[in-house]
């Protein structure tokens, strides 16, 4: 993880169009952007597109990043807005149904080695958006509670609380299908 000084320096270089700075920032934050996008749009493929679009948008608007050292939090806000816009467009495009909105369809790829994604996505769908963001940033990205608190503008104890409740709910959700299978078996 980069420190504040390094981030600010990279942002200043990126403002001047420096490609290595763009690359360093993308490497440092694209995964986090993906996690936050996934927390909203619920589909990994869509989340990748949203993260990519949001990162580009952020690079184009670097001049309006008033605190370069807080680039992460600023970027994640852009990601959140992009993801919500994406959801709106998806709702307009797709025929409404009552299925679970988080990747409900078992895609071919999901049946193979990536098959474990589906129950995870279903379980994540049961969480509130902020808990999804916290658990993805912590358990997938490896962010600390300090970093999460700063990026999501919540307190560290609140971040811990969200994580605790998110993990408990995820475990409960993930254990449910197994119980059903046992019952049916």
């Amino acid at each position: 993880m980069l420190d504040d000084h390094q981030i600010a320096s990279l942002v200043e270089q990126a403002k001047r169009g420096d490609s290595p700075a763009f690359e360093a920032l993308a490497k440092a934050y694209l995964r986090a952007a993906y996690s936050v996008a996934l927390a909203t749009v619920g589909r990994p493929a869509d989340a990748e597109d949203v993260a990519q679009d949001a990162m580009l948008r952020a690079f184009e608007r670097l001049e309006s990043c008033r605190e370069p050292a807080r680039f992460g939090g600023w970027l994640l806000q852009i990601v959140r807005n992009q993801a919500l816009n994406w959801l709106d467009r998806r709702r307009l495009r797709e025929v409404p149904n009552h299925c679970i909105p988080l990747e409900p369809i078992l895609e071919d790829s999901a049946r193979g080695p990536m098959g474990e994604r589906v129950p995870l996505l279903r379980a994540l769908n049961a969480l509130t958006p902020v808990r999804r963001e916290v658990v993805l940033l912590h358990d997938l990205e490896g962010w600390t509670h300090g970093e999460i608190a700063l990026a999501l503008e919540i307190s560290e104890p609140m971040s811990r609380q969200h994580l605790f409740l998110a993990r408990r709910e995820l475990r409960r959700q993930l254990s449910e299908p197994l119980i059903e299978e046992v019952d049916h078996g």
């Binding site: 763009f22 993906y34 408990r168």
Partner: protein, 114 residues
């Protein structure tokens, strides 16, 4: 109660490193291209058009307001100098004895206008 991390690795986009690297490369390339576009002459011209027009409009407004003020003051002064009552009063106050031609000039202008 078990509070160990949940294994979310199946959602990790960088599980396919080549694809993830390609994604980052695309972002970098597009960001670089967008920056070049912003720096191009045409884009700079477009970007400066609005502020330049605003400055020009503000300048024109200031000049127009100044000209209007000067014109009003000149018209007032001219009207006063041409008014026979004003001229007579001035002559009286300064104890001036005007030439006949000046008297005719003052009153003549008035007759001409009537």
């Amino acid at each position: 109660m078990d509070d160990s991390p949940i294994d979310l690795s199946s959602l990790d986009p960088s599980r396919e490193p080549e694809r993830w690297k390609q994604l980052i490369d695309e972002v970098v390339e597009q960001a670089r291209a967008a920056h070049c576009r912003r720096m191009s002459v045409a884009h700079q011209l477009v970007a400066w058009t609005v502020p330049a027009l605003a400055i020009a409009a503000a300048f024109a407004l200031v000049v127009w307001a100044g000209a209007l003020s000067v014109a009003q003051r000149t018209a007032t002064a001219h009207n006063s100098a041409a008014d026979p009552a004003f001229v007579l009063a001035r002559w009286a106050m300064t104890d001036e004895r005007p030439a006949t031609s000046a008297i005719w000039q003052v009153f003549g202008e008035r007759y001409d206008r009537d």
